[in-house]
């Protein structure tokens, strides 16, 4: 069977659901961040697959580049916040962090 659009879409669907599971089921803030990266990568696979099989439309690549830019900015800010939480609470479990001031 020829490798087509559906194959790539199924990979991205599985990756997306794994990322959602990581976001929902894990307590460590950095694990939540990793789940988020998996979700963004799944979206990127979709962009590129539609660009490839919709007649090599390059605008999908540009959209994927913007997703990567946003992921980089989000990772930097999120890790800064996580470090700050660690300084205050000495742990980073997202379900136990319940106040924003010292």
């Amino acid at each position: 069977m020829e490798i087509g659009l559906t194959h790539y879409l199924i990979i991205s669907a599985i990756l997306f659901s794994l990322g959602m599971f990581g976001i929902v089921a894990r307590k460590h803030a950095i694990m939540v961040l990793m789940g988020l990266e998996l979700v963004l990568n799944a979206a990127n696979i979709n962009f590129i697959a539609f660009a490839r099989f919709g007649g090599m439309n390059i605008e999908g690549h540009v959209a994927a580049i913007f997703v990567i830019i946003l992921a980089a900015a989000e990772a930097a800010v999120a890790l800064a916040i996580v470090l700050n939480i660690y300084q205050n609470f000495r742990h980073v479990n997202v379900d136990e962090v319940d106040q924003m001031r010292d």
Partner: protein
Amino acid sequence: MDLITIGFYFLAALTIVFGAIVVITKNIMHSAFSLLFTFAGIAGLYVLMQADFLAITQIMIYIGGILVLIIFGVMLTTHITGVDVRSGTLGKFQMIGAVMMMIVIAVSLIVVFMSTRWFLAESQPVEETAPQIGNLLLTKYLLAFEAASMLLLIAIVGAAFIARKHK
């Protein structure tokens, strides 16, 4: 089975197996390193989809940047040597709910993807993508490109400001 098919299934298995390890394993350091193989597999899938520039970008930004940042974050916030008692997993009830949610999302997405009749253009000759992406970024998407540069600047300054040591 030609080489492309074998390569596709190898990369797909690499991506999904290590992606599962990322979310399942207890040791957070192991999941950070499994993320490396997931990102590498995704870069390989980009190569199979003729997106050469995106594959290099994936390797440079995700593996070289975001992953290193995540590993730094793990090492700065987790007690690596001792078992961190406070970072347990969910209760049984919530875990069952999370697994159910994951299965429902995966099955419904796959059913939608398989049952839709996608409009497919006939395959065109593939050229290098980097010059075309550069053209688009500096013509049609110029405003978004500049906004992204401002966003990155603000994110850098804001992250440095938030993460600094408080007196």
